[in-house]
Symmetry: C2
Subunit: 383 residues, 2 copies
């Protein structure tokens, strides 16, 4: 087994520069919607050690603006330093003393993997909007190449939430014989019309920013305002009316004022919720690439587990792994009802499927916040 | 009683030019948030005849992008020609053979009333963002001046939905002795943090459009793309996951393709829901003023019935009229729970309040769609 140890160049800064990000580059990836991508680099991180039989590997799949940095070995207790930190590490659910845990940044993203900000070998310039349409299935096929490259024949588990949950589901359908267990969190068989609609508004907000330049912006000169507005809307869909009411209600802002995406003065004061969203928006604009945001949200929209199969039953009945589906009571992006429906469908098709629901007010983002409930939910599928 | 009969100049085109829009101009309006507006013109329409005692008048209050044209006498059966057509007319709930029905365009709007696109007398140019912050209470105070001008001492009813519902509630609190009955539909005591957040995203989308020009755009050269994006988001909040799923699900578009707000090509096809929202967005951009949209959505955010009173109880206990509150099961902008809470609060304070819920999947917009349920709901408060 050869693991390339050169350190990847991170296109966008991460909070931590101490953990080792590895990369694997392969020649080409045929794409679900046509064409191919060549070459393809995936950035990834691993924790723990692969056993001699190569049977103790777990793949963790990340959400829209996530990276391979699910866990931080130097700051294992800081949720901001590794996005699934409380679930990964010695003695934790993803126990790094027993398992070889891998998290790979997906194709299309901007955290070291090939995406729209990567150099297009045909032109020597960034792909921009000449990057091909990529799908969740493409992301999974690329991850599969990485897993093979790491000498892993079998995954003990694939687990992820949101578009990470879509990837986990796709793994179970695309490579049924290869994975023992799958955990699909806050993701369904396909996004709703409302979800697609929210994503399209976000994309339009990016593209209306004059700095977008049809995707051909220079580094550091991208459509930060548009991307911040997109993020503001996304943050609403990741939370819930209930959670926002608890946290912000109608309080005027009391903290240090954040810059609004468009830098225009407030009209009749500023509510705390607005200040919070401005902060979230401008923070994302500093760390994420706008074109990646367009492509990644589109992959989320386009995902339909039944695509290219005669029916959804045909797709889901391919699943051989033990499957845990986790819904969130207050999620309105991938509602609990849709996750439950999916779990039930797999069960009715003879699959080994279990459904657990987080009783959280925190909406879609609960899988990145409710550590105790998440640990209890994961315990429903023994590792 | 003198009613000015000169025809108003409509700043923005309306589907119908046959009905008579009247205007009333008065000298000045002191504003809740400071300053005043001078002069002030209100565009309004009336149907039916005021009786000799001046006791059969009803005021209908409109929603965000509505106009005074609630009813069309030439096309009384076409919902697109008058926004509350099926409820107004001979033999209908708002029976124009018995009542003198008035609908006034609000201050801040662009349908003939003084708003940001009106000429600022101090400069001879449109107000733009020099227009003062206006509130729901300001809108109601201006309507009150109109009602007095029309020689009406007492209103048999004030009724409206959404920000029209906020106006109706404000009428009942500001002028308790003056109105017999009030109908508050799909509106609450104050918008939620989530509702404010959705509105702020819409405003940012308008302001990021380079054609916005800090509000100083020439007529016909406004930020149409930004306004269209704002409308796309608003339309999602006016509907529901359930209704969008029924109507669009994940169907690719089959109708004639609408232009996207930013005119950029689709990324991997177009869903029907996207095409629908593009159409809705570009249609609004042709008929509405972007600065009015900023000010009107802000008035919606800022409304809190308890403002300037010691408590919400102090405000609501002022209500003397018989009150009907109408919630909508699937509304997620002004949720049924919040409308029910308000009705219950008024009831507990000794008010004559009734709550009815529309069992509709159509979300917030149900009060502009569910004619049979609306008629049944209104029947709960006899006119």
């Amino acid at each position: 087994m050869v693991i390339q140890l050169e350190r990847s160049v991170r296109v966008f800064p991460q909070p931590d520069l101490l953990n080792q990000v590895l990369t694997y580059t392969f020649d080409h990836l045929p794409l679900q919607r046509g064409g191919d991508l060549s070459p393809v680099t995936l950035a990834y991180e691993t924790w723990g050690t692969l056993n001699a039989e190569g049977t103790n590997a777990i793949l963790i799949t990340h959400a829209l603006t996530g990276s391979a940095h699910a866990h931080d070995v130097f700051y294992p207790d800081d949720c901001k330093m590794g996005w699934w930190n409380p679930l990964i590490g010695p003695g934790r659910y993803f126990d790094t003393t027993r398992y070889f845990v891998i998290c790979s940044n997906v194709v299309g993203s901007c955290y070291g993997s090939t995406g729209p900000s990567s150099t297009d070998p045909r032109t020597g310039r960034p792909y921009g909007m000449r990057f091909p349409v990529i799908t969740i299935r493409d992301m999974v096929h690329a991850q599969h190449k990485l897993i093979e490259h790491l000498g892993i024949r079998h995954l003990a588990m694939v687990a992820g939430g949101s578009i990470g949950g879509q990837q986990a589901l796709e793994w179970a359908v695309s490579y049924p014989e290869m994975i023992d267990k799958v955990v699909v969190i806050a993701a369904s068989a396909a996004l709703t019309a409302q979800g697609v609609a929210f994503n399209e508004v976000q994309r339009q907000a990016i593209m209306v920013d004059p700095r977008w330049q049809c995707g051909d912006y220079a580094p550091e000169q991208g459509p930060d305002s548009g991307l911040a507005i997109a993020r503001m809307l996304a943050m609403i869909t990741y939370q819930s009316e209930e959670a926002m009411e608890m946290r912000f209600s109608r309080k005027p802002t009391s903290r240090e004022a954040a810059s609004s995406p468009t830098l225009n003065p407030d009209l009749g004061g500023r509510f705390d919720v607005e200040n919070y969203l401005f902060h979230q928006g401008t923070t994302l604009a500093r760390r994420f690439d706008a074109n990646s945001y367009l492509y990644m949200t589109r992959a989320m929209d386009l995902y339909d587990v039944s695509e290219d199969y005669p029916s959804i039953e045909a797709a889901l009945s391919r699943i051989r792994s033990k499957a845990l589906f986790v819904g969130i009571r207050s999620d309105f992006l991938f509602s609990a009802a849709h996750v439950r429906w999916l779990a039930n469908k797999v069960h009715l098709l003879g699959g080994n499927a279990k459904y657990v629901e987080l009783d959280s007010p925190h909406g879609h983002d609960a899988f990145l916040k409710e550590w105790s409930q998440m640990t209890d939910a994961l315990a429903q599928i023994e590792l």
